[in-house]
């Protein structure tokens, strides 16, 4: 793992967390959408918070696909679950929301899970694919 790859993982967390938060904030302004009028969900993209949120989620998708091009799915998903902790910490210290002891336990478990997977190799495959010479890292693939 080099600095660029850590930056891509951080990008997934950053774009995903901020994008979700922007969408959530925007949908609270738009209000509840009835199941009888699902079409009105299309007009919700005119809300500026939702529009910016969608741009962030495009950034999330680009960084997510970049990470999957050199890392395993079972590495990327747990490693980027730190976004849940990121949101909870923002909620606690910036928005001054209350976090119950059960939620703190959840944060500890996620952090431990991220620590477990981050300490290992990002790819378990040794074959090169797709015409690029450095498609997959072979570091640490042997037991």
């Amino acid at each position: 793992m080099n600095f660029r790859k850590y930056l891509v993982l951080a990008g997934i967390i950053f774009f995903g967390s901020i994008g979700d938060s922007l969408l959530s904030h925007g949908m609270k302004q738009v209000g509840s959408i009835s199941l009888d009028h699902l079409g009105s969900v299309v007009f919700s993209v005119l809300n500026p918070w939702i529009a910016v949120g969608i741009l962030f989620l495009l950034g999330f998708f680009a960084t997510y696909m970049t990470a999957l091009s050199w890392a395993d799915l079972t590495y990327v998903l747990p490693a980027t679950a730190f976004g849940y902790v990121f949101i909870a910490v923002i909620a606690r210290f910036l928005l001054h929301e209350h976090i119950s002891p059960v939620r703190w336990l959840g944060i500890v478990l996620i952090t431990a899970g991220v620590g477990f997977v981050a300490g290992g190799p990002e790819s378990s495959s040794t074959k090169k694919t797709g015409g690029t010479e450095s498609a997959l890292s072979t570091a640490g693939t042997r037991p």
Binding site: W70, P78, Y84, L109, G119, S124, K128, S134
Partner: protein, 126 residues
């Protein structure tokens, strides 16, 4: 019956989301390291190469199905049940699917990480 439909929705979310993730992962493995590809062929060729991968579009279609499954589940169940249950089960299902279909080496470290993160997400979102 309401409970049954809510859990059916959770099941659909987990299946479609896991399938979508696996298809996206397979597509990107076929493409190869995007950073290296961009250096060799430029950004336009890299984007074209990604878009021409069939499993990518299929993966995106399953992601869309997952979104509609979420809407279905939320119409029958509480968000406090649907959200944590689907998110945490998806982490574990992805570990199984990656081992079975992508032939990833899911060692004890990764199983532990998947279970810890799944339990943590359940507690955090619950």
């Amino acid at each position: 019956m309401t409970h049954f439909y809510a859990w059916l929705g959770v099941f659909l979310i987990v299946v479609t989301s896991t399938t979508g993730d696996c298809l996206l992962a397979r597509a990107m493995k076929q493409v190869g390291d995007l950073g290296a590809l961009r250096k060799q062929r430029g950004i336009a060729q890299t984007i074209l190469r990604v878009l021409r991968t069939p499993s990518l579009m299929l993966g995106i279609a399953f992601m869309a199905l997952s979104f509609f499954s979420l809407l279905f589940a939320l119409s029958w169940g509480d968000v406090s049940m649907v959200g944590p249950a689907s998110a945490s089960l998806t982490f574990v299902a992805n570990a199984f699917a990656a081992k079975l279909f992508l032939h990833e080496r899911v060692d004890r470290r990764r199983w532990t990480a998947a279970v810890f993160v799944a339990a943590g997400v359940f507690l955090l979102a619950g």
